[in-house]
Symmetry: C2
Subunit: 197 residues, 2 copies
DNA sequence: GTCTATAGGCAGATAGAC
DNA sequence: GTCTATCTGCCTATAGAC
């Protein structure tokens, strides 16, 4: 039986693989997937490149794991919103808040960043990336449809089409605001997008 | 006096520097600035890497020239729109058409791509990038203000704020649509953005 | 202006000791 | 699991012949 560890502190096990992903995620969100190397991760963790390859044999594998975990965490955040809030407009406000918290950390959405690099990504990462966007769109479309039925929104067109443009608009707002280094700019655009519904 | 060349064909001089920029532009728009090398350009032009360095001593220099030329061409396109069209809504339709023509070539807007890579860019490129966005926003803000005064638009908020969110939304729509490889998706979003004004 | 040749460094990745 | 050592290849960039 596996021994319980760090029970006193209440701090759960953090595996090396997780710590690698943590560092890689920040690097990928700030510099892009092609903008960092195993050496960057290794130096930040005080270990060697060879050790990283034990956990993630190739960079493509690392990237795939990165997107998968990001997707899981995002899905969990959406589930939390669904549990905590029932009002569609407030759901969307919180959804935009997820992007805002990324902006405040001076990062880009991981998947927005990877979308820019799409043509250079291995197939497994491409597939995972599209899955992330699809999940976001489905969630958004459901909220939008529900909100319009309830009279909270009055947008034209299908909920699906709206979901697509909203997703793109938030990613783009983040992309440009980050270049300006201005998070108020992102919030102003996000508010406007939601007010337009 | 410099001898006239290619007068018979009516084809103007295309300098080597221009041809280098042409190839580099496509590469930067599809793979990102960190996603291509001098070797890629050289092989496409049938010349050596060393020759490229004669025209552009460093990759940063090449990138700066890339953004500067892109900005010039974009400004010229906006001037053409201003000359050909007076109706604000139609001006914006043509503006979105500029992005659409990029999408149809399976490329990303050069500056949207560079915005993703912002933190890895040399200072000169960052400055040129922001200048591009500023010019776009100024043009958009003027058209939006004019259109609202004329009763064509009824958006809320300042024209400047609208210009910022419109620019971001178009860049983001392009970014995501490109990952899906679906240009109809881009056009649907663009239409929606303009209809919302 | 374009070439050959090469420098010097960093990339992702592997072998094998501990 | 982590290390040292190393491989192979590509990167940006330069020197100097033509």
């Amino acid at each position: 039986m596996r021994p319980a560890k760090a029970v006193e502190t209440g701090v759960p096990d953090v595996t090396t693989a997780q710590r690698i992903l943590d560092v890689a995620e920040v690097l990928a969100q700030t510099r892009g997937f092609n903008g960092f190397s195993y050496a960057d991760i290794a130096s930040q963790l005080g270990m060697t490149k060879a050790s990283l390859h034990y956990h993630f044999p190739s960079k493509g594998e690392l990237g795939r794991a990165l997107v998968a975990r990001y997707h899981e965490n995002f899905a969990a955040a959406l589930a939390t919103i669904d549990r905590a809030v029932k009002v569609p407009a407030e759901k969307l406000r919180r959804y935009a808040g997820l992007y805002d918290s990324v902006m405040r950390k001076d990062r880009m959405c991981l998947c927005g960043m990877l979308a820019a690099e799409y043509s250079t990504l291995p197939e497994a990462m491409r597939t995972a990336l599209i899955a992330f966007f699809n999940a976001n769109e489905s969630w958004l479309a459901a909220v939008l449809e529900h909100g319009r039925e309830g009279g909270a929104f009055s947008f034209r067109g299908s909920p699906k089409a709206r979901a697509q443009s909203l997703l793109g608009a938030l990613e783009g707002a983040l992309l440009v605001a980050r270049a300006y280094g201005d998070d108020r700019r992102f919030r102003a655009t996000a508010k406007q997008l939601l007010d337009d519904l």
